[in-house]
């Protein structure tokens, strides 16, 4: 059976996209699923979080997109399989823009490996450029990590417009699973109000539980492992385990 391809996208930076992608990947792996995580961000935070030095890599997702190198040539196995990135990917935007069918570069590349995995998770960059469009075109579903603070709703609105564009131009079946609240501070009324506002304003589902802010996530990234490996009993690890189960159930039917 082909993998479910899920993109994690939000053009706002610093909302825990990468942490969410990697943690959900580790959570799904804990459920016995075969997972491939694709780093589509030139900042290579996912690659780094998985314990790989991006600057030491000779071949990355950039070569897959630009030179059409087969994906399996660049896969690195850590907690889950990773398609790594480094700063070279920044140039891929310019190269791809000149090509016909530029939106399909990642979808085309993943065709060779989708039979080998249960899930392919794509960590999109914090922009709405051609790399994000590639991620959303290759995906069947989208998850939006959302930092619970003011102005977050603007980012959701813009992203929902982009999802409409994607459905119109390249991927009519793209579905939104929902929003994952990150860096949540349940003690503040503001965080709860932001979530209620986003849910009611855009009619999107807020997935539960919310993930609380914690220094443990940064420590796990520094150690090159997921929060599940670094602090398995931490509430953040438990939250992502539950969210992985929720996401897994959404594809079960």
């Amino acid at each position: 059976m082909s993998a479910r391809v899920i993109a994690f996208a939000n053009q706002k930076g610093g909302v825990a996209k990468t942490t969410t992608t990697f943690s959900i990947a580790a959570g799904l792996n804990g459920l016995g699923k075969r997972v491939l995580a694709v780093d589509l961000d030139p900042q290579a935070a996912l690659t780094y979080s998985a314990g790989v030095d991006p600057d030491s890599l000779a071949e990355t997702v950039n070569d897959v997109l630009v030179r059409r190198l087969p994906v399996d040539k660049v896969v690195i196995t850590r907690e889950v399989d990773i398609v790594p990135a480094n700063i070279d990917l920044a140039g891929a935007e310019a190269v791809l823009l000149a090509k016909t069918g530029r939106e399909y570069a990642l979808q085309r590349a993943l065709r060779d490996v989708v039979e080998d995995y249960d899930y392919v998770l794509i960590d999109c960059p914090p922009s709405l450029g051609i790399l994000t469009i590639n991620g959303l075109t290759a995906a069947q579903q989208v998850v939006i990590p959302l930092q619970c603070e003011a102005l977050s709703h603007r980012g959701v609105g813009q992203l929902l417009e982009t999802l409409q564009d994607i459905r119109h131009f390249t991927n009519p079946n793209l579905a939104l699973i929902g929003v994952i609240p990150t860096m949540y501070d349940g003690r503040s009324r503001h965080a709860r109000e932001v979530l209620e506002d986003v849910g009611s304003r855009y009619g999107v589902e807020i997935l539960e539980p919310a993930v609380r802010k914690s220094i443990r996530f940064a420590e796990a990234s520094q150690a090159g492992v997921s929060i599940m490996s670094y602090a398995p009993g931490h509430p953040g690890a438990e939250a992502y385990r539950q969210l992985a189960s929720v996401i897994d159930e959404r594809g079960a039917g």
């Binding site: 016909t100 469009i133 564009d165 131009f169």
Partner: protein
């Protein structure tokens, strides 16, 4: 919600938005590039000899690729 027609700039990211009338895309089996050409350019690529075997092969036409310049099997798309 429909796609807004008053924001063409962001739509420039999509191939479909720069599709022009009377063009088609050549997908090369050798270099794997996809290149948009006009009908006039296609005629030049077909010259002096070309072969077409529709339904038999995915890359069903043997002609010169506009990207790599080699004579090879390609697929022609009217709409991509």
């Amino acid at each position: 919600m429909s796609v807004r027609d008053d924001v063409p700039s962001k739509h420039a990211l999509y191939t479909k938005s720069d599709r022009k009338a009377r063009t088609l895309t050549v997908e090369c089996s050798t270099c794997r590039e996809e290149t948009r050409v006009s009908y006039l350019e296609l005629a030049a690529l077909l010259f002096p000899v070309h072969v077409h075997v529709p339904l038999v092969k995915y890359h069903h036409s043997w002609m010169r690729c506009p990207a790599c310049g080699r004579r090879t099997w390609v697929r022609l798309h009217l709409d991509r």
